[in-house]
């Protein structure tokens, strides 16, 4: 399959691994953070970790929108959905995220009107099909999905749709990276930059990381070869003592970003003064909300939202894992109380969550390798 097989070519992968081994200084320990959850998933799925020398440690970053969303927001959304005549529409990965009264999927099983949609524009279709109901789209995601929510709102406004609103949980990546760099327990040598987010925002917004913080950052694709090449590029920079922004994912990511998408975001959204992130706490100007002109479609303005802060279950260490301080398996609940089937924390739910990736691809792997003798 074109665009996939080339980037999974075993010979090229072996070559990149050789290059990484040559570039990595054996005396040095490298801590590289892959910001995006999609990268975390790819790293585990393709077993890239096993290919890298042991002194290159990959730290999983906060780039998983479902994971960073505090439980209170899910509760708020479901409180609105519990009102008569309200349809809760959301992407599939929100459906299993635990709230205090159960996940949206569990609430659906108990009769709440909850629909899975694949694109925000489906929510508009839903609203038109059900004129007697109010469709609330539970919007979630980084800058990757914000443009499609923005375009949906532009359309809702143009068509004067009344029975539609958005519960906006869109967050932005840059403040999260800043929060990680400010955190005293994180010592990161370089970043593997998020690919999908960068299709929208481009590479320019990362320049301060390289210039002010002295950390190299390489925007990377999601195939194994993309990731390995990005690591090569990071190691080259580290070896030369440089810190700059590089774009490995040039086939998709324009340096300047997607102007049309950015202007749609700017038209519809404004920055919130602050927003709570799981694990990272309150970060100022880190999330989007609807502008005053779109108040009519803003679920937070239309409905009473309790807005109660809900703390995660005490034993769950989602925050630490999300920040990269703990590895998924170091959490006390990992693989015992918390599994993809019965998730306690959001990181076990999302396909981009590091716990889910680790559980699926890494958990008990070493036991299997020894028992059936497959070489790694």
């Amino acid at each position: 399959m074109k665009y996939v097989d080339e980037f999974r070519n075993p010979q090229l992968i072996a070559k990149s691994v050789d290059e990484i081994c040559q570039l990595a200084d054996p005396q040095r320990h490298y801590r590289l953070m892959e910001v995006c959850g999609g990268h975390t998933h790819a790293i585990y799925r393709f077993g890239l970790k096993d290919l890298l020398p042991s002194n290159i440690e990959l730290i999983h970053g906060p780039g998983c929108p479902v994971c960073v969303l505090p439980m209170g927001r899910i509760d708020d959304g479901l409180t609105i959905a519990a009102q008569p005549g309200v349809v809760f529409a959301a992407f599939g990965d929100v459906m299993r995220v635990p709230g205090t009264q159960g996940s949206p999927l569990e609430r659906k099983a108990r009769g709440m009107d909850i629909r899975i949609i694949y694109s925000p524009s489906d929510a508009i279709k839903l609203a038109k099909l059900n004129p007697d109901k109010h469709v609330m789209f539970f919007a979630i995601g980084f800058e990757t999905t914000a443009p499609s929510t923005a375009l949906t709102l532009l359309r809702a406004r143009a068509e004067g749709l009344r029975n539609f609103s958005v519960f906006c949980n869109h967050v932005t990546i840059i403040p999260a990276i800043r929060a990680i760099l400010d955190s005293p327990d994180m010592r990161i040598d370089g970043f593997i930059g998020p690919g999908h987010v960068s299709t929208v925002i481009g590479c320019r917004p990362y320049e301060w990381v390289a210039a002010n913080e002295g950390k190299p950052i390489v925007v990377s694709g999601f195939e194994p070869l993309d990731l390995l090449q990005s690591i090569v590029m990071l190691l080259r920079q580290l070896r030369a003592g440089e810190s700059k922004v590089e774009n490995q994912y040039k086939r998709v990511v324009p340096w300047e970003g997607n102007r049309a998408a950015l202007s749609a975001i700017a038209e519809v959204f404004e920055l919130r003064p602050y927003f709570e992130w799981r694990g990272l706490g309150f970060i100022s100007q880190s999330a989007l909300r609807l502008r005053e002109e779109y108040a009519q479609w803003d679920a937070e303005r239309r409905f009473d939202v309790p807005g109660i802060r809900v703390t995660d279950p005490k034993a769950a260490q989602c925050g630490e894992v999300l920040k990269g301080v703990l590895k998924p398996a170091q959490c006390k609940l990992f693989g015992r109380e918390c599994t993809p089937e019965n998730p306690v924390g959001a990181l076990m739910v999302s396909s981009e969550g590091s716990c889910a990736a680790y559980y699926n691809y890494e958990h008990r792997k070493s036991a299997l390798v020894t028992s059936i003798g497959i070489p790694t």
Partner: protein, 422 residues
């Protein structure tokens, strides 16, 4: 799955603690298993120490019969390559076939929603009749219930079949031993992806057809040609190949290693799975089956000799060895597979199937990759063809696999990556 008379004593300890029934309990994965073994088996059946199979084999005063039942809830009712009626017959016939029995008679139950057009019902009954003729099975009775409009999704069909054992086959997971080979009858995932796309919820199109068909002629052909080397069979329907192999691993006590590059998957299916973040190994099939055969019988030569039999059958033209059992017994592990470039073991994830999908790339990315949209017809298709020119004989690669019994596919050239963004 039929659970009659097959409750392993060890399994009866599982308790079903879930407070309510959720969609995952019907998805064929761990949650389904928990429901069956934790609730149905202990309350309905005494344990016989046998693992759960596709059909129950009974001894009625010396006469051996196999019985199984299956219900069909599919949306949309008609999809490329088939419809609910054909599915209802083939599904039950196949469950009997892979348990080593030839279906003799079926009874069918219809649950109809008031307001269902007669034309639709007639089409489905005709589809059932056609499928029954093809499978050589009689439909000898049935029952009909009509529920209020809105209380069912147009129609549900449930079929129960009885069959007689096919001579020369014994399907028994406990006879599986290390070194045995796993064969798959053809490309996997066609049915599941076809249904997914036919629902028109994804704005994706592909030139795909459901693989729904009866596998009975094929099973009978193998029984004649090499019945004694067959250890186990299963049709990987709901939950896909991975779930079936998980069940095998659990029932036989060995791990299963798959060579990922040997698993036949059409490019369209792979493409859709890549976009949607799914794994073809977890996608449902309706006309394929998995067989475990003894190690010696699975050598390339011996199967190549037997291919003559299959070629004459209309079914099962591509039969591939996709893996082998590992050398040593181990506990706790279910299923693993090997990545082509890094030996990579995967804990399977039946829950993923229950995770509703979200397109992996947003539309902005799509536009970046494929500049033109489908709405302006022919032209984008042509540009796609140029952009995604791919090898036509993607199956040929497996011929070089050591010890894999590779039966080459018929020469139908694979279409290009016929996946369009609408």
């Amino acid at each position: 799955m039929n659970y009659e008379s097959h409750a392993a004593t060890a399994l009866a300890r599982i308790r079903f603690r879930d407070p309510q029934i959720e969609m995952s309990h019907g998805a064929g994965g761990k949650a389904s298993r928990r429901l069956i073994e934790g609730l149905f088996v202990p309350l309905l059946y005494e344990s016989s120490g046998q693992p759960l199979g596709d059909a129950a084999h009974l001894n009625l005063d010396g006469a051996r019969v196999a019985i199984t039942t299956d219900s069909f809830v599919v949306k949309p009712l008609r999809f490329p390559g088939g419809s609910i009626g054909g599915l209802a017959v083939n599904g039950t016939v196949n469950d009997l076939a892979v348990s080593g029995a030839k279906a003799e008679a079926l009874v069918a139950t219809f649950v109809l929603e008031a307001g269902l057009p007669t034309e639709t019902l007639r089409d489905e009954i005709q589809a059932m009749a056609a499928a029954a003729r093809k499978a050589g099975v009689r439909i000898v009775g049935g029952d009909t219930k009509v529920v209020e409009h809105g209380k069912a999704d147009s129609m549900y069909i449930s079929t129960t079949g009885i069959g007689t054992p096919i001579p020369g086959i014994a399907v028994d997971p406990s006879s599986v031993s290390p070194g045995d080979k796993i064969l798959v009858s053809g490309p996997i995932g066609d049915h599941g992806i076809t249904i997914l796309l036919a629902r028109n919820e994804l704005d994706l199109e592909a030139d795909l057809h459901s693989d729904t068909r009866t596998v009975l002629p094929f099973v009978e052909a193998i029984a004649r040609a090499a019945g004694s080397s067959i250890r186990w069979m299963r049709d990987p329907t709901r939950g896909g190949v991975a779930t079936s192999l998980n069940e095998l691993a659990r029932d036989c006590g060995f791990g299963v290693v798959l060579d990922e590059s040997a698993v036949p998957v059409r490019d369209e299916v792979r493409g859709a799975c890549e976009l949607l973040g799914l794994d073809p190994l977890h996608i449902a099939n309706e006309g394929q089956f998995l067989t475990v055969v003894s190690a010696s019988s699975a050598s390339a030569d011996s199967w190549r000799r037997r291919i003559a039999h299959y070629r004459r059958d209309s079914t099962g033209a591509r039969r591939r060895c996709i893996g082998h059992d590992p050398v040593r017994r181990h506990a706790g592990r279910r299923h693993a597979r090997r990545r082509p470039f890094a030996a990579h073991l995967l804990r399977t994830k039946p829950w993923l199937l229950n995770t509703p999908l979200r397109p992996k790339l947003n539309s902005v990315c799509w536009r970046a990759i494929w500049p033109s949209s489908r709405s302006s017809h022919a032209k984008p298709a042509a540009s796609l063809m140029r952009a995604v020119k791919c090898p036509t004989a993607s199956y040929a690669a497996a011929a070089s696999l050591p010890s894999a019994a590779v039966l080459m596919p018929p020469t139908r050239s694979m279409s290009q990556l016929n996946l369009f963004i609408r």
